[in-house]
């Protein structure tokens, strides 16, 4: 998933960026409220981690402005302010979650994943799509009961397609889900990743059908459709 981290502590920001990237997420960082608001407005993020005490614009102002601009990106407030009124104010302004510093990195990741799932209206952390079973928390994939090892980016492709199953996901969406704001765009990197995922799925038992789950819609993007796979299974 693609995340925006608005945190004025340079050390905390870089540490979290490091950890989240290591988990396969694309992370953009902002050191102040104005920059954070601009990035959140200009890009599409799966979730935003927002500190409250920020230079230039504080977190409350960023959040209020974001919601005023119609942006519904899930926001997790990450702050040292632990008073009930601080939390209530943040949630009232449109935050989706609130985590007090210091925090466990695992908890932050779990809360972000829960927020993203909720954003895609996926309740369970494990998705079963035909022969595929995808653990969104552990970032693991099973195909016909056998684990298929994917890289973080390959899993990111499958994760977004799975969460938006039955819906065409554009290459741009996939790119934005996988790469940071300042990453150099490459025209076919998404296609290469999709190809790689399909290839790994084919290697499992009944993998041909599994690979067919990911369909290419020319000029539009990709679609993960379990119905198409079932039709394919019925046809000779």
């Amino acid at each position: 998933m693609r995340l925006l981290l608005v945190e004025d502590s340079q050390r905390l920001r870089s540490t979290l960026e490091r950890g989240l990237r290591k988990l396969g997420h694309a992370v953009d960082g902002a050191a102040n409220g104005s920059e954070g608001l601009w990035l959140a407005t200009e890009n599409s993020y799966d979730a935003i981690v927002l500190d409250l005490l920020l230079p230039e614009m504080n977190g409350y102002e960023v959040l209020a402005e974001l919601r005023n601009r119609g942006k519904s990106t899930p926001v997790l407030i990450l702050s040292a302010k632990d008073l009930v009124e601080d939390r209530v104010r943040g949630l009232d302004l449109g935050a989706d979650d609130y985590l007090v510093k210091p925090f466990a990195f695992e908890e932050l990741v779990a809360r972000l994943q829960a927020l993203v799932r909720r954003g895609h209206q996926v309740a369970s952390p494990t998705l079963t799509l035909g022969p595929l079973s995808i653990d969104l928390v552990a970032k693991r994939l099973w195909c016909a009961g056998r684990e298929v090892r994917l890289t973080a980016r390959e899993f990111g492709v499958l994760e977004l397609l799975a969460m938006r199953q039955g819906e065409v996901v554009t290459r741009q969406d996939l790119w934005e889900h996988l790469y940071e704001f300042d990453a150099e765009a490459s025209s076919n990197v998404v296609d290469v990743l999709v190809y790689s995922v399909r290839k790994k799925l084919e290697s499992c038992k009944g993998g041909h059908l599994a690979a067919q789950l990911i369909q290419t819609r020319r000029g539009q993007g990709y679609l993960l459709d379990t119905a198409a796979s079932e039709e394919g299974a019925e046809s000779p």
Partner: protein, 479 residues
């Protein structure tokens, strides 16, 4: 502890009671003396009248007293007695006395003697002894009368009369007077007690209200003030002082609360950084680059927390006056250069130049170590917050606010460009944990300038900040 009202009541009642008792006693004494005097005058006058009835002629002496006209002497019930005598012989007794004698003093002194003694009938009586010369009808010139064998000699012994009268009425009257005075005293005392209680109750009511108001004060009501309009002049100063104190307490509590919140926040951020860095490093132990970065972060965070703790400790020491200043002549230019030395590298990276405008040989009488700490904080502040290519200037402050060599040096001034600061920020510059944007992004905890202010107070230096043409001027000078 007894209340003020009880004490005043007791003191006023004891004082008033003593005065009343004393007044009653003197009044009684005056009445008693006056009555006694009247009684005695009447007794003596009657004795003199009786004495005039004594006549002497030749050898004979007698008392021409028709007792029928004096019923008080007729019988014992009359209550009065008399007895005439000349030396060696009783001339006459009253019928009331019968054959008895009236007591006489052992020695006759003077013409009139008065004393108290029981009457022959046993009741209290008043006696008067009168020594007198009886009226002499005729006797040969130069011949002294002879009274029953005793030659009369006008210069010799005289005739005597003892007259006694019962003083029961007088005693009863005096006893009644004492009784009424005593009863009046008690009534007056009781009335006075009620009056005192009432007066004190009314008079001390504002004090009671004030006491109740103060009793209701607690941490939650520090924002409230006692209304001074209903307060008597005598305690208005107390109310003013209490209101002042409440104001100071409110400020202190608010500062303390803010301090705790700031401190907790200040520590939470590096703790969050430390926890995230270590958790991420431990999660991927086989990634040497990530582990090294995490360890590097952990060390930097540790140093940052160490600096916060050090500044807090220095601030606490400075405020508790645990470390009194040791004054000496500190060469100012050298002290500035010494404080700049550890900052030279970060300053060079930002191309910030030090302008040490203090002339050689100028010394400030102060504590060397504390001045060093002040300079370090001021210069570090200037370097940390200064823009690249900036400068920081240090100047000596003379006794006439100038810097001529003739003036005695009383302080120093540190100036640096501060484009981000606004005049509204100046009052907060010396607040603990204050930062321009409220963020915790920098490596500073907002303790440097509060420490400078605190150390300045310890050194007897007044600390002031001003913005002049976009430059922040911090001035420390002896008041």
């Amino acid at each position: 502890m007894r209340s003020l009202r009880s004490r005043l009541t007791l003191y006023l009642l004891v004082g008033s009671g003593a005065l009343l008792a004393l007044g009653g006693f003197f009044l009684y004494r005056v009445i008693a003396l006056r009555l006694q005097e009247d009684f005695d005058q009447q007794l003596v006058a009657k004795a003199r009248s009786l004495a005039l009835l004594t006549e002497a002629a030749g050898r004979a002496i007698w008392v021409e007293l028709p007792e029928e006209g004096l019923p008080e002497f007729a019988a014992e019930t009359g209550g009065e007695y008399f007895e005439f005598w000349v030396p060696g012989r009783v001339l006459r007794r009253s019928n009331s006395l019968g054959n008895r004698d009236l007591p006489r003093p052992a020695a006759v002194s003077g013409e009139v003697q008065l004393w108290d003694a029981p009457l022959p009938n046993g009741t209290p009586g008043r006696f008067v002894l009168l020594s007198f010369l009886p009226r002499i009808d005729d006797h040969p010139a130069g011949e002294a009368p002879d009274w029953g064998g005793v030659r009369f000699d006008p210069a010799g012994p005289k005739a005597s009369l003892v007259l006694a009268r019962g003083r029961g009425d007088l005693n009863r009257f005096l006893a009644e007077t004492r009784l009424w005075l005593g009863v009046s005293f008690l009534f007056l005392l009781a009335g006075l007690a009620g009056l005192v209680r009432l007066s004190l109750g009314l008079g001390l009511a504002p004090l009671s209200r004030l006491s109740e108001r103060i009793e209701r004060l607690d941490v939650a009501s520090l924002g409230e003030r006692i209304d001074p309009t209903d307060v008597p002049g005598e305690i208005s100063v107390v109310v003013d002082r209490i209101n002042d104190l409440l104001g100071r307490l409110e400020t202190s509590f608010a500062r303390e609360k803010a301090y705790s919140a700031h401190l907790a926040h200040e520590l939470r951020t590096p703790l969050a950084e430390l926890r995230a860095a270590t958790e991420i490093g431990m999660r991927w132990p086989d990634d040497p680059e990530l582990v090294a970065a995490s360890l590097g972060d952990a060390k930097a965070i540790g140093l940052h927390m160490e600096r916060i703790a050090g500044n807090l400790l220095a601030l606490a020491r400075s405020e508790s006056a645990q470390d009194p200043p040791i004054e000496e002549a500190v060469p100012l230019r050298a002290a500035i250069e010494e404080a700049w030395r550890p900052l030279a590298r970060p300053a060079a990276e930002k191309q910030i130049e030090l302008r040490n405008e203090v002339p050689e040989g100028v010394a400030l009488p102060t504590d060397r170590a504390k001045l060093g700490l002040i300079l370090s904080n001021l210069l570090e502040n200037a370097v940390s917050h200064g823009s690249p290519g900036g400068w920081v200037a240090c100047r000596a402050v003379g006794s006439n606010n100038g810097s001529s060599p003739e003036e005695a040096v009383v302080g120093l001034q540190v100036i640096n460009p501060a484009a981000d600061l606004a005049p509204a920020d100046l009052p907060h510059l010396f607040d603990r944990f204050w930062r321009k944007d409220g963020a915790r992004s920098g490596t500073h905890a907002g303790l440097g300038l509060p420490l400078v202010a605190s150390l300045g107070r310890v050194l007897g230096l007044s600390v002031a900040a001003d913005l002049v043409a976009g430059n922040l001027e911090i001035r420390l000078a002896k008041a």
